[in-house]
Every structure is written in structure tokens, then in C-alpha cells.
């Protein structure tokens, strides 16, 4: 555990010593704030926060999820691709750490970054509390759901990053997989396909919605944890395969 945390700290340090962290967090906070003032077509076409006159952070969470599908691949893309390109992966992997510890360290570092970004939305929470009396259940559920979902995106991004030396390629691959998983529940509708149940089960959005309603169902949690575990295991395997090539 100590080593995982040491690597996580190194990643966190790398984020905050480069502009990308600040840019991503700024974009996120600004765009999330937009839900207070504008209607968002496709997602919430009806009204903005003030018009709805309802003290809820639900639009914020739903919009967060879409933003994260784009922003988190940009955060995770460097994790392995950069080390492969600079040759530092060899340095890291020849220190007394296991492949598993390296993967987990990087994942935990990225999760910590996500936690910081989410933590900074506290201003909006205060605003909503100042204006009315929001339900605590959906609020906590919303944060929990966004964090779980973000963890899924980061694990997928980490996996894509282990596949290539190019950060751009890692970003695009992660974006495509994340986008597909996020909106899988809309595919049957859009393309007139059957199998609604199956697509729902695959979809981030479907599982997120139920958590965000404040209903904690273990199946939804298991779903997100399974996505993370699978992506991280593929990452570890990819890393190990360097030995045989």
C-alpha cells in the first residue's frame, strides 16, 4: 500500500506541476456552472436552474458526467504513454515495485485528482443551500455516482494509455470507449435496435441515474467496480506483455 501511495503522490505532483490540471479543472468548473444559467440541449432542454426554481444539483451531476467523459481521458492519457515515450517506464518498472502496484498507484493518483476537482464544486453546493433546501440523499448520491463513474473513465483512460506511446492516441481511444459506454443506453433508441436491457446494463448513464436519484443499489456499485477492475487488469496485462515482446 505504501508503494501505491508513493506512486500516486508522484502522479498527483506531476498533474499540479503542469498546466493541464489547472486547465481541465477550470474548464470543468466553468462548464458545470453553465447549468445554472443555460438550458443544455439534448440533456435538459426544458429550463435552467433559476427558471426551474428547484434547489437541486441534479443538472450539475448529469452535466458533470458528460464533461468527465471528455475531460478525464485528457487527464489519464499521459499516465503510461508519457512514460513509454520518455523511457521512464523502464526506470519505474526496475524499481522494487510490482506491475500491479504501478497500475494501482497511477489509478489512485488520478482518482485523487478527480476528488480534488469534485471538491472544488463545493461552491455550487453552498449556493444551492443558500437558495433553498435541497435533499441530502440525491446530493450525496450524486457525488458518489460521479466519483464512481469518473473512476470508470479513468480506469479506461489508463488502459488506453498503456496501449500506446502517443498521448493523443490514448486520448482518442479512451474518448471513444468512454463515450460508447456512457451513452450505450441510447443506442437502441437511436438506431432502432433491440436489446434495450443489455444496452442499459452496459451503460454508465443508466447505472449513474439510479445512484443519482439517491437510491444506492449494490448492482450499480458492482457494475462500476467491475468496469474499473476489468480495465485495470487489462492495463496490468498490457504492461506485463512488454516482457514477452
Amino acid at each position: 500500500m505504501g508503494k501505491i501511495w508513493t506512486i500516486a503522490k508522484k502522479e498527483l505532483h506531476a498533474y499540479f506541476s503542469s498546466p493541464i490540471a489547472y486547465i481541465a479543472i477550470s474548464i470543468y468548473l466553468i462548464l458545470v456552472g453553465v447549468t445554472f444559467f443555460f438550458k443544455i440541449p439534448f440533456l435538459f432542454p426544458k429550463e435552467n436552474f433559476f427558471e426551474a426554481r428547484e434547489a437541486t444539483l441534479r443538472p450539475l451531476f448529469q452535466w458533470s458526467v458528460v464533461l468527465m467523459a471528455v475531460l478525464l481521458p485528457a487527464i489519464s492519457m499521459r499516465l503510461f504513454a508519457e512514460e513509454k515515450k520518455d523511457g521512464t517506464l523502464e526506470l519505474l518498472m526496475t524499481m522494487p515495485v510490482s506491475d500491479f502496484q504501478v497500475v494501482m498507484g497511477k489509478f489512485v493518483g488520478a482518482l485523487a485528482f478527480l476528488a480534488v476537482a469534485l471538491g472544488l464544486t463545493v461552491g455550487y453546493v453552498i449556493l444551492v443551500f443558500a437558495l433553498g433546501k435541497p435533499d441530502i440523499g440525491p446530493l450525496l448520491g450524486g457525488y458518489f455516482g460521479v466519483f464512481l463513474m469518473g473512476g470508470g473513465f479513468l480506469a479506461i483512460g489508463l488502459m488506453a494509455s498503456a496501449w500506446t506511446k502517443s498521448q493523443i492516441v490514448a486520448f482518442v481511444v479512451a474518448l471513444v470507449i468512454s463515450g460508447f459506454l456512457l451513452f450505450a443506453d441510447r443506442i437502441p433508441e437511436l438506431f432502432g435496435l433491440g436489446g434495450v436491457q443489455l444496452f442499459n446494463l452496459l451503460s454508465f448513464n443508466y447505472h449513474f441515474e439510479s445512484i443519482a436519484r439517491g437510491v444506492i443499489d449494490s448492482r450499480d456499485i458492482v457494475y462500476f467496480l467491475s468496469v474499473m477492475a476489468l480495465a485495470l487488469e487489462i492495463t496490468r496485462y498490457t504492461l506485463e506483455s512488454r516482457k514477452w515482446r
Binding site: 508522484k10 523502464e90 518498472m93 526496475t94 524499481m95
Partner: protein, 313 residues
């Protein structure tokens, strides 16, 4: 200490290592010598556990690298080729990270970082961003990282490439002093580096070991036949007469020549059992016959020529 057994590594159709075996004892400084692409780096990467061999195995203190990789990695300090580093960190941050990964923490870590930085001459650059440091300083950061945990084994892949001559001398001295109480494997394509720093040389070519021993042993084994080259100024005697005279000297096996020299001298190649013993006798024979000797030297190959011969084709 390190035992490499029948190592084979296939990269697709290319055999980077083809049945490489050797053993390194504690306290040896071994130079891996070979032209670029000979398999040195592949061999080093296999010993450090970064890659796995196609067949064969590496044992470090009796532990198989393939199955006990973390334990083995603890015993090794490794400087990879080109000294890759995290450019956005300072040497201090990087060394503290490396220390924590190796379970050195707190005051002990701070003290050790300072110690190592002084040893490699990095103290006044500890808080610069690594990305802004020159190649020489980066190499020192890499070296500092490798020796941070005081490992019994140091593996350095091309530690002096890209350095200027003064830096090269410094780093070599450092390696030599480090090697006094630990095992060092140094990979290089530079012959002088090996002669100056190592007490044993392993020459690798096309994935195979073509020579292994001290520089002297290699010279003795691969230095070719023991030939003395000898020139005399023409002195009325014919070449054949001189040849007969030389052949009669005790210890001489055969004489080739004469060939004409640049001036009016004649040159012979004398093959002898033991050149050092025969040379004075040759000298005496020549002077007693009233001739003037202008050249008398050993023609056994030097290490450079041996290296070239072993790694040609």
C-alpha cells in the same frame, strides 16, 4: 552473485541473445563490450527483470529474476540507457520518490539524498528542474538514483555516452570507486572505458559471447600467434642468409620474409614460443653478425585489434 544461464531472447525473427551464459562474482567490475546492437542492452534488461528471456534464466543471489522480480530489483541499482528521468521533477524530488519506493523514509532519506548528491557532484543542482539540466548532470541524477539504496549490484547501461571528456573521466572514477565494495556490470561500446574501469571484459557480438576474461587473458587467448617483427639494414648479406641465421636462434619456430622496408632495410617476421625470451637472443645474433638492427617489436594484437577482429562480419 549473478548467474546467467543459456539466455535466449527472440524479437520476432531476430535473435538478440543466443545462448548467453556467464557468472559474475561479488566485487567484480565487469564490462559488457560489443558494437551497437550486439545484445548488451537486451542482456542488461533481462538481468534487471524489465524484460523476460525467451529461454534460459537469470539468478541473482540464487533468486530467479522471473519469479522473484521484486526481491531481485531490491538488490540492484540500475541506470538504463540514455538515463531516462522525470523531467518535470527536481533531482531532490526524484531521489525522494525513488527512496520512498525503496522504503527509505523520513530523516534517513533526506540524509541519504544529500550524501549521494555529494558523491556524484550534484549537490548544487538538487533543486533545479531536471528538464533544465545538461546531459552530464542528468547522467549524475540517474547514477544517484541507482546508488541511493546502496545496492550490492550496480548495472549501468552506457553511463558515459553524451558526456564531454572531463565528465567521462569523472564518472569513470566514480564507477571505479563504487566498484570497490560492490558488483558492477557496465555496458559500453567504448573499449577504453572497459580497460580503464573494469577488471573483467565480456565481449558480445550478435547475441553471443565471443570473449570473456581479464583484458590480459583475452589478449593472450585471442592475440594471435606470438610474432616478433624485426628489421635489419642490408649489410652485404642476402635475405636468405639472414633468414637462416634467425632460424638458428634458440626458441624460434619459423621465420617469414624478407620483405623490403621503406628504407634499405629488410623486415622479417619471427614466430617464437615466448617472444620475451627470444627477443634478446635475436638482438645478440644480429649484432654478432655485424648487422644493424633498426626495429624489434612484438606483433601480438592489442585489445582494440582483438575487439575489431572478434566483432567484424
Amino acid at each position: 552473485m549473478i548467474r546467467v544461464e543459456h539466455l535466449v531472447k527472440d524479437y520476432g525473427h531476430v535473435k538478440a541473445l543466443n545462448d548467453v551464459s556467464f557468472e559474475v562474482e561479488k566485487g567484480e567490475i565487469v564490462g559488457f563490450l560489443g558494437p551497437n546492437g550486439a545484445g548488451k542492452t537486451t542482456c542488461v534488461k533481462t538481468i534487471t527483470g524489465y524484460i523476460s528471456a525467451t529461454s534460459g534464466r537469470v539468478l541473482v543471489d540464487g533468486l530467479d529474476v522471473a519469479t522473484h522480480s521484486v526481491e531481485v530489483k531490491r538488490k540492484i541499482g540500475y541506470l538504463p540507457e540514455n538515463a531516462p528521468l522525470y523531467l518535470d521533477m527536481t533531482p531532490r524530488e526524484f531521489l525522494e520518490f525513488a527512496g520512498e519506493v525503496r522504503n527509505i523514509r523520513g530523516d534517513a532519506l533526506i540524509k541519504r539524498v544529500k550524501e549521494v548528491a555529494e558523491q556524484v557532484g550534484l549537490a548544487e543542482r538538487l533543486d533545479w528542474e531536471i528538464g533544465t539540466l545538461s546531459k552530464g548532470y542528468r547522467q549524475r541524477v540517474g547514477l544517484a538514483q541507482a546508488m541511493l539504496h546502496d545496492p550490492p549490484i550496480l548495472i549501468l547501461d552506457e553511463p558515459t555516452t553524451g558526456l564531454d571528456p572531463n565528465q567521462i573521466v569523472e564518472i569513470r572514477q566514480l564507477i571505479k570507486s563504487l566498484g570497490q565494495n560492490r558488483t558492477v556490470i557496465l555496458s559500453t561500446h567504448n573499449l577504453h572505458e572497459v580497460v580503464q574501469t573494469c577488471n573483467r571484459v565480456i565481449i558480445i557480438h550478435r547475441g553471443r559471447i565471443v570473449a570473456d576474461g581479464t583484458p590480459k587473458e583475452i589478449q593472450a587467448k585471442h592475440g594471435g600467434s606470438k610474432t616478433v617483427v624485426l628489421s635489419v639494414i642490408e649489410s652485404g648479406k642476402s635475405g636468405q642468409e639472414i633468414k637462416a641465421l634467425l632460424s638458428g636462434v634458440e626458441g624460434v619456430r619459423s621465420v617469414e620474409g624478407p620483405t623490403g622496408g621503406v628504407d634499405s632495410s629488410l623486415t622479417f617476421k619471427v614466430v617464437a614460443e615466448d617472444p620475451t625470451e627470444v627477443r634478446p637472443r635475436l638482438f645478440k645474433a644480429i649484432s654478432e653478425a655485424g648487422m644493424v638492427l633498426t626495429e624489434l617489436r612484438d606483433e601480438s594484437l592489442d585489445l582494440e585489434a582483438i575487439f575489431q577482429r572478434l566483432t567484424m562480419d
